[in-house]
């Protein structure tokens, strides 16, 4: 078991390393970073100056290891636009994205898991149909359309919720829903199918045979087993949400990493873009690692082997 964990951790670090290379190459090979940073209307000498200042004239390998070396010391470079250390800029924006992600995931879980359980308990009835239709609708709705829709209904028409900024908890409600609902179909379906399987199992039959209260049978002996793959899926979905938050953050003017990425891309702020790619990829890698570890801990069959 420990061997498995160690192996998994090593793979995670390897993945992060290779991903950092890919991210670096993406940013540096998609056109000329110096030209991009210098902006439109820049002269040849302007571009050359930028190139020298930022060391873009060095061989790529050297640039990469220089960057990685600094990153490992906690130094992410300097934003040329904001004239700040990238590390500080990231630190300013990360809490918003993290909060948004966690809230979005919580919303998704709170909606899908009970629905999935109910759909499994009463298959082919109204509640099952509602759950499945919700899943289908969820997958067909682009997040920005949903976000604008929510904004119109709750922000403009009913004036219930604030539509921009991140000052209070209320500001996160619509963004969390808009970001989280996309994960609902997958989680709901997995919960439903897992529950349907487990409710047919022998140990649930035993629990019923001993007259245990229905909620105990369903939750302690049923959901406890069915939820295992859902936990992994939830961790992975959180990773997706962190990457996909850019659209939601720009719509609702939430100053998170996605918003920062958006601005930095427009301004060709290379150092920031690189750093954000690395941070989000790393977060995703660790979340999938967490998902695997949770799976191993919670699943009794894996513990046995």
């Amino acid at each position: 078991m420990t061997y498995f964990i160690l192996k998994r951790i090593c793979v995670t670090f390897l993945v992060i390393a290779v991903t950092s290379v890919v991210a670096f190459l993406l940013v540096h090979l998609s056109g000329d970073p110096a030209a991009a940073m210098a902006g439109e209307g820049a002269t040849e000498s302007d571009i050359a100056a930028v190139r020298q200042l930022y060391g873009f004239d060095r061989p790529l390998i050297v640039q990469y290891f220089d960057w990685i070396g600094r990153v490992l010391q906690g130094e992410f470079g300097r934003s040329y636009y904001l004239r700040m250390d990238v590390a500080d800029v990231l630190a300013d924006h990360m809490p918003v994205t993290a909060t948004l992600g966690v809230l979005a995931l919580s919303f998704a879980l709170l909606l899908s898991i009970p629905l999935g359980v109910l759909a499994a308990l009463y298959p082919n009835t109204l509640i099952d149909r509602i759950a499945l239709w919700l899943a289908v609708a969820g997958q067909a709705l682009p997040s920005f359309v949903f976000a604008l829709g929510l904004m119109y209904i709750f922000g403009v028409y009913f004036r219930l919720l604030p539509i921009s900024g991140g000052a209070t908890w209320a500001h996160f409600i619509m963004p969390a829903i808009a970001l989280g609902y996309y994960a609902t179909p997958a989680i709901m379906r997995l919960t439903r199918s897992g529950m349907m399987d487990v409710l047919q199992s022998d140990h649930v039959r035993t629990a019923r045979a001993y007259g245990l209260a229905p909620w105990r049978v369903v939750v302690r002996h049923g959901l406890r087993h069915a939820i295992i793959p859902v936990v992994s899926l939830a961790a992975v979905q959180l990773g997706f949400m962190l990457g996909g938050s850019i659209v939601i953050e720009t719509i609702f003017s939430l100053k998170g990493l996605g918003y920062l990425a958006w601005e930095s891309i427009q301004r060709a702020d290379i150092e920031v873009i690189q750093a954000i790619l690395l941070v989000i990829a790393t977060a995703y890698a660790f979340l999938t690692l967490l998902a695997d570890l949770l799976n191993a801990v919670l699943d009794p069959r894996i513990r046995m082997s």
Partner: protein
């Protein structure tokens, strides 16, 4: 989504190939018809756009900005869905935007499908080191946030339609690889593959003639998922301004241009939004129907 109500099971002629059996079952499946109908309607509308409207979607008429659609006060048949902030006919933009969505969906699926299937078959058939390496590559792909990467590349290189297709195609092959890999593994274990190897068929022959035809079921399902995925991704990129650029039309772009009008003219957001939802919904229904008929157990 229930199957059609006739209780008599269709007689299956044993001489029909699995493909035809599946097609027959698909045709009885309600979702298949609904989804197919919607998709067909959108496709025909896109192809016949010049016939359905005489307006040029890019023609600006600043004297006729923000005209309301036919159902509102002061709407007219001249501009059935009204005009936008630059006086361009909304219906024309909607119809020509459909072309972009469908074209992007189609070509990106082709690219990502070829890449993903090739990787998946290789990983599933040869296993061992090949499988390990390909799995690693897939993991790397999954670790990178798709929207961000697409944005970065398009922002730095410049956005043209063909570039977008290539970028999205190069990003959305992961599910193909995963599904095709496991489907290939299952097929490769079956006796007829071993038989083909024993009679000395070349590997490429086995791959093309034995394995590929047997993984078409899951392959089509994934293709439909990724088709929808590509359309959504393009819409998001265009919404953020880094996708399709004016004067080209895209539904995502229409939503983006309309979002400042959300308060007073919500229909300008709702119309392209609804079009997107309808298209994705139709594709999902078809994909669901195909999945239901190609998996033996179907829905629980």
């Amino acid at each position: 989504m229930t199957v059609a109500a006739n209780s008599a099971a269709p007689t299956i002629d044993r001489s029909m190939s699995p493909g035809r059996v599946a097609l027959r079952r698909a045709l009885r499946h309600g979702s298949f018809w609904v989804g197919g109908f919607i998709l067909l309607a959108i496709t025909i509308a896109a192809i016949l756009a010049p016939v359905l409207t005489h307006h040029d979607p890019t023609a600006q008429d600043l004297a006729r900005r923000f005209l309301p659609p036919i159902w509102a006060d002061k709407g007219s048949w001249e501009h059935i869905l009204g005009t936008d902030n630059l006086g361009r006919d909304y219906l024309a933009r909607l119809l020509y935007g459909a072309r972009i969505s469908l074209i992007i969906g189609l070509f990106t699926v082709l690219i990502s499908g070829v890449i993903g299937t090739a990787l998946g078959v290789a990983a599933g058939y040869w296993g061992g080191w090949v499988d390990l390496i390909i799995n690693f590559v897939v993991t790397i792909r999954l670790t990178l946030p798709v929207v961000l990467v697409a944005l970065v590349v398009v922002a730095l290189i410049g956005s043209s339609l063909s570039l977008m297709i290539v970028v999205i195609g190069l990003l959305l092959w992961d599910r193909f690889a995963i599904v095709v890999r496991s489907a290939t593994q299952q097929v490769a274990q079956r006796e007829f593959i071993i038989a083909a190897r024993t009679i000395g068929s070349s590997t490429s022959r086995i791959l093309l003639k034995e394995i590929l035809p047997n993984i078409t079921g899951p392959l089509i399902v994934v293709a439909s998922i990724e088709f929808a995925h590509a359309i959504l991704l393009e819409a998001a990129l265009s919404f953020l301004g880094l996708g399709v650029q004016p004067p080209e039309v895209s539904w995502g772009l229409m939503v983006s241009e309309a979002k400042t009008q959300l308060l007073f003219r919500p229909w300008m957001v709702a119309i392209p939004g609804a079009a997107l939802v309808a298209l994705i919904f139709a594709i999902n229904l078809i994909g669901d129907a195909i999945r239901d008929v190609t998996t033996p157990e179907g829905r629980a």
